[in-house]
Symmetry: C2
Subunit: 262 residues, 2 copies
């Protein structure tokens, strides 16, 4: 399963319903958030104000299920392996097809995800313990406020990966080149300074050991916008189910930015 | 004193004998190391193997006091405000002019220095405590071996600057763009892992406080090659006196590297 178009077709035909981790290596996968038009401008502003947790890759026209910049054939109603539907902030359904639910006022947002920068870290020889241990990356809700936009406000959520100090520096350098997929870390060492009191008790995902010769390194996490949106209790919000991402035709290499400075 | 050519002329005419910190802002200053030809190939190899402590900006032909790539008029025998002469690894003289000492076998090496990346850090709003406190940057000899080349071998020396975690990440991103002036840090946090047992007792320079909400960030230091060279006890070695650097026509901006990855 290396071609994103073939994967989307398999999903569309009901032949692929699994997690998308590891499929179509080299291609960008995206977090999906679909909202009614009345929330769209505020959410776009929220993304623009918070580019590290909410790196906006594409936004659709209202009612248009196409996102041609991410894939000529792409149809957001059918091309994600599993969706979650939230009404007034409460999960009401998990679906594999949105065609019955689609409305002319729905706007799709696709945000970059950490799979892209993790691929770059691995390609440079940095090892990701949570993957080697077959677990999920640990995520923590911090005491750091996102910049608010209209009804959208809330705390930054981060993911944590441990590295030896010299590798942590390399990880900063590498991920800084990918501002459209979370970019460089937001914090390093000293978790208590951002309100994380116990690294063994993540808010989501699984605990990952930080050894005595390592530092915890924290990146802004793509769960942040979902957490913020659901707190705002929109009448309708549709997301991908965790790990069941949108596979796009963009290449991770194309997201690499020579000028790492945002 | 903003024009490097005017500064070199003033030095050459004996009108400027001070430290060069802060003069000719925007222009690259260099560490100077002059060795007999019989050591030159080994030292060049040492620099190439250890680009972070020894970022080689220019190397002269034997006996030629000119370094045209650093300044059309530049004469290394007269254009440094103060020199130190070491014989068999021992300091024997401090001079302001090398013309009486010059020999047809002497080779000049000019290495990048931290003034350049510190200017970039300041330009991005990062504050350098040791400068604000009017002290010298603290330097530490680590337990990390440089890659040896011939007679040149020894431990890496680092300088330390404290930053809050988010600023430390920015400092990595900024200095990574300047590989020809030490580049990104070599270590962050946990000084004991590189053999630094007491931050209050630097090997050179002055102690700098690291506050509870800060991490110590360590860059490879341009004192490393001087320490390594003198350990090798060459028959003759001439360096700039501390803080009395060679002011060149290169601009710090020109050293900026879009691709930060070495």
């Amino acid at each position: 399963m290396n071609d994103p178009r073939a994967i989307r077709r398999a999903i569309r035909e009901g032949k692929f319903r699994r997690h998308t981790a590891g499929v179509a290596p080299g291609y960008v996968q995206g977090n999906v958030c679909i909202l009614p038009r009345e929330y769209a401008d505020e959410f776009r502003e929220f993304c623009e104000l918070n580019p590290k947790p909410c790196p906006l890759l594409a936004m659709s026209a209202p009612g248009d299920p196409r996102l041609r910049e991410l894939g000529e054939d792409l149809d957001i109603r059918t091309d994600v392996p599993r969706y979650r539907v939230f009404r007034d902030g409460v999960l009401t359904e998990e679906l594999t097809d949105l065609r019955d639910l689609w409305r002319p006022d729905l706007v799709t947002f696709v945000l970059g995800c950490s799979f892209s920068f993790e691929e770059a870290l691995s390609a440079e020889g940095l090892r990701l313990r949570y993957i080697e241990q077959g677990t999920n990356v640990p995520m923590f809700r911090t005491n750091v406020d996102c910049a608010p936009a209209g009804r959208f406000r809330g705390k930054l959520v981060v993911s944590m990966r441990p590295f030896k100090p010299a590798d942590a520096i390399r990880a900063v350098e590498i991920t800084a080149r990918y501002p459209r997929v979370h970019g460089s870390p937001v914090h390093i060492g000293k978790p208590e300074l951002i309100g994380i009191m116990d690294l063994d008790k993540p808010w989501a995902g699984d605990p990952t050991e930080v050894r005595a010769d390592e530092l915890p390194v924290f990146w802004a996490c793509g769960i942040t916008p979902q957490s913020v949106v659901l707190d705002a209790k929109p009448s309708l919000c549709i997301t991908h189910a965790p790990g069941h991402m949108l596979v796009t035709d963009l290449r991770n290499d194309d997201l690499q930015n020579g000028d790492s400075h945002q």
